[in-house]
Symmetry: C2
Subunit: 227 residues, 2 copies
């Protein structure tokens, strides 16, 4: 190893070895650059990387200090369901259970910042892996983001069409565990009350709210993150 990665590794080693204790100041960029015999920009690159990782905290004038509680950040790559299924070595399919226009429920419009009772497109989809129910998707979609004529969601899944045709700017995702309601129990083929992993997503595009989705996963589903 060489260059900024070597600097990062050595700084990290000293932090882990408690040479530089949590909360303590570490030497300035200039000093480290001299010590390692590299340019200041190289040290800066290494320290920026560690700051991104949450290992150190940097402030102008105040210097760089070792984080007290090194915040552990895990990254989740939100998959397109079809690729997720294929990536697990299973065959993919889906059934469109509903597709209509109607007034969206209040929790949905509220989360998306749309007026109460706004007309939205309602899509209900059952995703299949090896022919068996995998995820039950309930989606409210802002029709303003769709072209005229709208795409045929019987052929392309809404998620996939959106990802490739609409620029998604911001959003959030939340996981909860919920008992299967009657509808979910029916389409997923499980008993009512079965524990389901539910992901709820809202997404904003360049031109405002795009979609709200609820994904109820079949039992046994794991959402895996690495750090």
């Amino acid at each position: 190893m060489q260059g900024w990665e070597a600097v990062r590794a050595e700084v990290l080693r000293r932090i882990r070895a408690r040479d530089w204790p949590p909360g303590g100041l570490i030497p300035g960029e200039e000093a480290l650059a001299q010590e390692f015999g590299v340019a200041r920009a190289t040290v800066s690159r290494a320290l920026r990387d560690l700051a991104d990782a949450g290992v150190i905290e940097r402030k102008k004038r105040a210097g760089t200090r070792v984080a007290e509680l090194p915040v552990r950040r895990a990254r989740l790559e939100i998959p397109v369901i079809r690729l997720d299924v294929l990536g697990r070595g299973l065959t993919y399919g889906f059934e469109r259970l509903a597709d209509r226009l109607g007034p969206a429920p209040v929790p949905v419009t509220a989360r998306l910042g749309l007026p109460e009772g706004a007309e939205m497109r309602y899509l209900e989809t059952l995703h299949l892996a090896n022919g068996r129910p995998y995820v039950h998707e309930v989606r409210w979609l802002n029709p303003a983001v769709l072209p005229d004529p709208p795409p045929d969601f019987a052929k392309v899944s809404a998620n996939e069409w959106l990802v490739t045709h609409v620029s998604l700017v911001a959003g959030d995702i939340a996981f909860t565990a919920e008992p299967a309601g009657p509808r979910e129990a029916e389409v997923l083929g499980v008993g009512p009350g079965t524990a389901l992993l539910v992901a709820e997503r809202t997404t904003q595009g360049t031109a405002g709210a795009v979609t709200w989705v609820r994904l109820a996963h079949a039992p046994g589903h794991r959402v895996q993150l690495a750090f």
Copy 2:
């Protein structure tokens, strides 16, 4: 906005405006630097940032192209439970339900890469928010990472002690929804079979496997990620 952030913003705008379509090559750093009137390093910084975000893909000699499926990455900041509770404006407390040495079950040793039947420290903790059950924690801890004498986990929670005293290097976290078992139902004060959000974590330190944890959250718990 100015500098590399301005470059990033403009490049992102063009991608979103489909000036540069998904899968397409974008101009090289040199060309962009000339166009924007900045140094190549500045363009490079902007593009590196976009590549980190998954918007573009860069390869030496092959150039930079717009990602086909812009992978959406969400970040989860793994909280120390005490701070998580306090951050929600609730009071924190915990009860140590068990603390003993014993052979760890096979799934645990397997995940941590330890020999089958290894002696580990078993800790069972109930975390309380406003005096009510919040999370049921089951932990197997590699005693090799503890100092002699070991810390008193009746006073400090194991997680917090580990975060501040052991350098955690790698790990992973998985979420599932599971029905409450008899033990969990009892300590969390819910009916058996209630849907619980379960987080399972394994953690490695510099000197090998550190700990395996299972956190069963009280009903209603949401794990929120932003992207």
